[in-house]
Amino acid sequence: MDVTFRIRRLNPEIPGKDKPYWQEFKLSDVEPTDRVLEMLHRIKWEQDGTLAFRRSCAHGVCGSDAMRINGVNRLACKVLVKDLGTKIQVEPILGLPVLKDLIVDMEPFFAHYRQVMPFFVNDTPLPEDGRERLQSPQDRERFDDTTKCILCACCTTACPSFWANGSYVGPAAIVQAHRFIFDSRDQAAADRLDILAEPDGVWRCRTIFNCTPACPREIEITKAIGEVKLAIMRGSPEGIIQVQDIQHEA
């Protein structure tokens, strides 16, 4: 089939192209199961080598190729042509400065990530037998969903609250904090809850729900943010996430 791509472009080095503009590319012999990323590569390799975008793993795990595709944040490697039709519009994710074509400045995003203490803290003595700390399958399950985050920024750059105010830490940073706050082995939940109780923390979330469908890992982000809000209100993450008994084979 034939597909027309309409791509938002910008090249800071070329006068006349240093402001955003649209450019169309036509591709033939496209298979319905082709990924958008493959089509962008075909444009780059066959038609215009100057087209710039980030990519790496090409199967939705590394988080490099978040883009706004037909108006929705997606990973280019995880959306197929058959789900988009023959007219496909691609533009950079919103809310971060565009550096060239589909490449945005990720530094503000990672700065927010670093703000929430995104690392395990437990200074108690290690088990004397030299082995792992114990954790029940139920306790492990409580934060399972938020361990899936790949920091692609699809959620944060789909969030109107973030568009309105870039100092808001954004959904991705809250997801990362959630992963530790609800980990029974971690001891810095109180510090993280304090950070997220600040004006640029969770309360800038207006529960608009854009983040959840934007997530290519299908993390229930709005729910996770709600759990963090509840933990702040109660002063503790205890008892907030209920987990069913987990069946284990012997």
Partner: protein, 607 residues
């Protein structure tokens, strides 16, 4: 040009690089991590099934059994001292990852949960053992995230999206690297006492691969061009279960959970090839079996793929046949293999709980690479002579703990074990080593090469050259090989190198995020590594592990219990003309375990 000075420079921010950075900085070294990707984009994050360690959380296990499986899996080309270190250190390394917060799945008792994996057995090959420690089917993702988190906690200095393009040598030592800052196109010199390469593999040489676009073997190529040998390059693993046509990996954990391979007749064909452990034989064995089935017309619809079936009814039928009491449900499959199910649903429209998955072997992992000892120090000859200041760990390195074929889970073990050992060794080294001055004009050669590429006015698009290379390597230097075919690949790649040197056509003449230029430079790395791979494959006139010669079907321990060392004969990194090699086959395989334990002596490999 800017110059930065550090005690230690870590090139690459995957598992090995981050582990090395963490341990070098914990040991007091001033460390910079220089990476062409944001660290969390690294390919470690795509590893799925697990990390092997003889914790014995479900059933008895022993690091010696792990070492045995590794040696046997490697078809006796693994250095046995390295396999022993790998298996013994794996236990501490995994426990330490848990202490860093890694969210492993748990047993009912709260211990790290373990699953079966190909080639991992108890009691010297007796039966499959649960050794792979897992976090669902995203174990690599969790390792990468955890290590990056710990680096942030320890305030490690990162240079993200700085692409290392040359290595600097002076007075016979490595003194740093040159990197291009992708956002500006500016060259930066990183000057240090120790440099560790952790740049990953080069699966992009082949057409069907599980590897990321960024896996172009940069570290291996630039050190090779500066005189460091590449070891055992003929050994590249084809993982048996890639998604048909796309190459996306389907973890061996699927078979660890009971999934089976079926041909067009619904026959579980691995029973013929590995009667004892069947679908859980090591990867080279299973990949060959799939090729042979396809060749015999047993592919699905007569085509070049077979089925991987993890439907509960199939799994339970074979579990019952094997006399096992365990049964699985669709829900458990969902819980244990969420990403695999997601890949199949998204890319194939296939639901693995209800339908079998179409799979074919996919180029996956470089057993060969930059030769090192067990402390990640780069060694440059058959006498294990250390090159001062240069280290390598992870897939780009060849310790060699994997020999001719790596076992599943052992890549993650390799990263954490040898990344950690390298980091510790560096911390010790930089305390007493002097900072050797930079060579004169450290960026001159790479600057000239970039200028040449940027201003090229020929007719050959890099994408076209890459496509030809990938096809010829897939056809002739893949799962099965024979002399004339390999020679054809060598000739084709040489033609491509000539076109690359004289006839390139580029669109982007800019500096900022010039991905056209960078991809083209990466293609140069791939072409060099393809050539070294094919020439090493032609030279090795035997079949061993992942290197299967149809014109030399037997393993030849008399002549080939040695590593291949390939040296460039070119005088500099960007000399025009053919890539002539000096192939040295004097480096003997370490058989130290076999000296005291006959079970480790090379013998016929049956599963």
């Amino acid at each position: 040009m800017q110059t930065h000075q550090f005690d230690a420079i870590i090139v690459g921010a995957g598992g090995a690089g981050l582990m090395a950075a963490l341990y070098a900085s914990k040991g007091g070294a001033n460390v910079a991590v220089v990476s062409k990707l944001y660290p969390t984009r690294s390919h470690t994050g795509t590893a799925q099934g697990g990390i092997g360690a003889a914790l014995g959380n479900h059933e008895p296990d022993n690091p010696l059994w792990h070492a045995y499986d590794t040696v046997k899996g490697g078809d006796y080309l693994a250095d046995q001292n390295a396999a022993k270190v790998l298996a013994e250190n794996a236990i501490d390394a995994v426990i330490e990852l848990e202490h860093m917060g890694l969210p492993f799945d748990r047993t009912p008792e709260g211990r790290i949960s373990q699953r079966r994996f190909g080639g991992h057995t108890s009691n010297f090959g007796e039966k499959p053992v649960r050794r792979a420690c897992h976090a669902a089917d995203r174990t690599g993702h969790m390792i990468l995230q955890t290590l990056y988190q710990q680096c942030i906690k320890n305030e490690v200095k990162f240079f993200d999206e700085y692409h290392v393009v040359d290595v600097l040598m002076n007075n016979g030592a490595c003194v740093g690297v040159v990197a291009v800052q992708l956002g500006t196109g500016e060259l930066h010199v990183f000057h240090g006492k120790a440099t560790l390469f952790a740049t990953g593999g080069w699966g992009k040489i082949w057409q069907v691969t599980s590897n990321a676009h960024s896996l172009t073997g940069d570290g291996a190529a630039i050190t090779f061009r500066r005189g460091v040998p590449l070891q055992d390059m003929e050994f590249f693993q084809f993982h048996p279960t890639g998604i048909y046509k796309m190459g996306i990996l389907i973890t061996e954990g699927v078979r660890g959970e009971g999934g089976v391979l079926l041909n067009r007749h619904g026959e579980r064909f691995m029973e013929k090839y590995a009667p004892r452990i069947k679908d859980l034989a090591s990867r080279d064995v299973v990949s060959r079996a799939i090729y042979l089935e396809i060749r015999d017309g047993n592919g699905i619809q007569g085509k070049d793929y077979v089925y991987l079936d993890v439907r509960p009814e199939t799994v339970n039928r074979y579990l019952a046949e094997a006399g096992e009491t365990r049964r699985v449900t669709g829900e458990e499959i969902e819980k244990k293999l969420p990403d695999i199910l997601d890949f199949c649903r998204v890319y194939l429209g296939v639901d693995p709980v209800k339908e079998p998955m179409p799979i074919q072997p996919t180029a996956h992992y470089a057993m060969g690479g930059i030769p090192t000892n067990v402390d990640a120090e780069v060694v440059i000859d058959e006498n294990w002579t250390v090159l001062p200041g240069m280290y390598a760990a992870g897939e780009c390195a060849c310790v060699s703990c994997h020999g001719a074929n790596r076992l599943g889970t052992n890549s993650l073990v390799d990263l954490v074990v040898f990344g950690r050992r390298g980091g510790m060794k560096i911390a010790e080294y930089v305390k007493h080593a002097d900072l050797i001055p930079l060579p004169a004009n450290p960026t001159a050669e790479i600057e000239a090469e970039f200028k040449r590429i940027r201003s090229s006015k020929g007719k050959s698009k890099p994408g076209e050259l890459r496509g030809i290379m990938q096809k010829v390597m897939m056809d002739y230097v893949g799962v099965f090989r024979e002399g004339a075919g390999i020679q054809q690949a060598i000739d084709t790649v040489q033609e491509l190198r000539e076109r690359y040197q004289t006839d390139l056509s580029l669109d982007d003449q800019g500096y900022k995020f010039n991905t056209d230029l960078i991809e083209t430079w990466e293609l140069g790395c791939l072409l060099d590594l393809a050539q070294v791979t094919a020439k090493s494959a032609l030279a090795r006139t035997e079949s061993r592990g992942a290197h299967s010669r149809e014109d030399f079907k037997e393993r030849d321990d008399q002549n080939w219990l040695v590593h291949t060392l390939a040296f460039s004969k070119l005088a500099g990194p960007y000399q025009p003309g053919a890539l002539h090699l000096d192939l040295n086959t004097n480096k003997k395989v370490d058989l130290s375990l076999a000296e005291t334990d006959p079970r480790f002596a090379p013998k016929e490999r049956v599963y």
